[in-house]
Amino acid sequence: MLGMLQTENEIVEDFELFEEWDEKYQYIIELGQKLPALSDEFKTDDRKIKGCQSSVWLHASVSDGKIIFKADSDSTFVKGEIALLIQVMSGRTPEEIIKAELGFIDRIGLRQHMAQTRANGLASMIKQMKLYAVGFQHKTA
């Protein structure tokens, strides 16, 4: 498995293929469509992050000291965003996740197409992932 920064760099390279917002959008939709659905048993309220116009369910588990994230959303676009986050964050140690700066989000130029209010949705997801990591860190410590 590639390091976190390397994974981010790969994503940025992928996105460099697309100049236009509609191309980026379609690519994210494709990622969203490919993300495996979360089984209904995990779609519980305590796993729900309520956004403005869509909801996200985020599930985390630990295996070998690494955190595995799985997630779902009623929005395919949001699922695509999640897919990117999972690509970078899942399978990492709690320490890595807590320290993650996720510079790729700015570098793929998504923010410029989303008002701060929508970008906040992404921020909540990241925050939730980090909270899980902090939780697991305490459990394992």
Partner: protein
């Protein structure tokens, strides 16, 4: 540009469009298609220029000023009250109160007339299709007073069920507040009829005119409402200003709203006397520039062939409705027989925001979500809709492109 549709002859939309500078914008290098008019309308150059003129030529605080700028500003400001009066056909310009917008207008009535007249055990009546701004102020009032909010239901087409309206109008009902036109369904309600029923029992009626003012003419004397609120920003005017109409005898009986400059006639620490209507309800330095720009918006309406514009908007509505109706997996929400140029719809298995974002990548501006009418969404068991709303500066060509892109969105987003 597509030539599949010819715009109506009667209405010269090409030259109208030149009045709206924003229509030249090109998000992502693509021609803007602005179909989010129910959220806020675009502004003609004349309105923007009114702001520039005011701020660069005669900006001054109004009233009480003896100097030239203040006098010019005061005259320009005062003249708009008369323009609003004509625009909504009020009887007297003292019946016009300047407020921030519809929301503040409704809050003003709830917290003055409402607080004075609604008591424990009383009822306030609204409808199932109200905007949050015409629900929450009344809920807050009812909670404060121990009163109950009653709701006129609607049918599956998004029309109010008025068969047993008498049941809702009883001796406990202290005020009715109802939207003229629904922002999420497009439904135009028979407010005149509802008001007749309410008045027969001596119950005053407030009309939420936010959507109504943007499409054709409003006549508060004809419908005989007791209060009427609207926002300038939905009818070609600036943000931050709107009007509240109230029948004079009601306004005169109402306690003041906010306290401060302008709304008093004399102040001492022992005793303060309030100014007369409408000033009693206008505390503080008014939003002078935006009032003047609202006047310019009304001038624009007055120079427009409003009847032709309204007819043209109905054509756009019908044209788009027909085209959307044949799309598989698309369901229009709100199919009342009397509708304003607002189309809400859902796409089977497709999240509304995803579709809205797709359209955005093509520079088409629609709104998605609940449109501040969560109870309407609950009623139709949907999380939200995609809403396209038209103004007279939109075209059938834009609709052609829009419908084409909706189809593309469906094929892209279908799971």
């Amino acid at each position: 540009m597509s030539t599949t549709a010819n715009t109506t002859q009667a209405f010269d939309v090409v030259s109208i469009r030149r009045d709206f500078p924003v229509l030249n914008e090109q998000p992502y290098g693509k021609r803007l298609v602005y179909f989010d008019n129910a959220a806020t309308s675009q502004k003609p150059t004349a309105v923007i220029q009114a702001l520039v003129d005011y701020y660069s030529r005669y900006n001054a605080n109004v009233h009480r000023g003896v100097h030239y700028l203040s006098q010019r500003a005061s005259d320009a400001f005062d003249a708009v009250r008369g323009k609003v009066k004509e625009f909504i056909h009020a009887a007297n310009e003292r019946e016009i109160i300047f407020v921030r917008g519809t929301t503040e207008g409704i809050n003003l009535v709830a917290s003055t007339y409402g607080r004075k007249n609604v008591m424990a055990g009383d009822e306030v009546l609204v409808s199932a299709m109200e905007h949050h701004s015409n629900i929450v102020p009344w809920q807050m009032l009812c909670e404060e007073k121990g009163a109950t909010l009653k709701v006129i239901p609607m049918n599956d087409k998004g029309e109010l069920i008025l068969d047993n309206i008498e049941q809702f109008l009883n001796e406990k009902t202290k005020i009715v507040s109802i939207t003229h036109t629904s922002n999420s369904l497009g439904t135009i309600n028979p407010v005149k009829e509802i008001i007749k029923h309410a008045h027969a029992k001596g119950i005053p009626v407030m009309v939420d005119g936010a959507q109504a003012v943007a499409h054709g003419s409003v006549d508060v004397q004809d419908i005989d409402c007791d209060f009427f609120a609207f926002s300038a920003h939905k009818m070609l005017g600036p943000t931050g200003i709107g009007g509240l109409y109230g029948k004079l005898h009601l306004l005169e009986d109402m306690p003041p709203y906010q306290g401060g400059g302008e709304m008093i006639s004399s102040v001492s620490f022992d005793r303060t006397t309030y100014n007369e209507v409408p000033y009693k309800f206008e505390a503080g330095t008014p939003n002078i520039a935006d009032v003047i720009a609202l006047g310019a918006a009304i001038d624009y309406w007055n120079n427009l062939d409003r009847e032709a514009a309204a007819k043209y908007e109905q054509e756009l509505l019908n044209y788009c409705t027909e085209k959307l109706s044949v799309i598989n997996g698309l369901r229009i929400i709100g199919t009342a027989s009397n509708k304003a140029s607002v189309i809400s719809f859902v796409l089977e298995n497709i999240n509304a925001m995803d579709a809205g974002m797709y359209l955005d990548t093509k520079a088409i501006a629609v709104r998605t979500g609940q449109h501040c009418t969560e109870p309407v969404m609950t009623r139709f068991c949907i999380p939200g809709t995609i809403r396209a709303s038209f103004m007279f500066y939109n075209t059938k060509e834009e609709i052609d492109f829009f419908v084409e892109q909706v189809e593309k969105a469906i094929s892209l987003l279908n799971p």
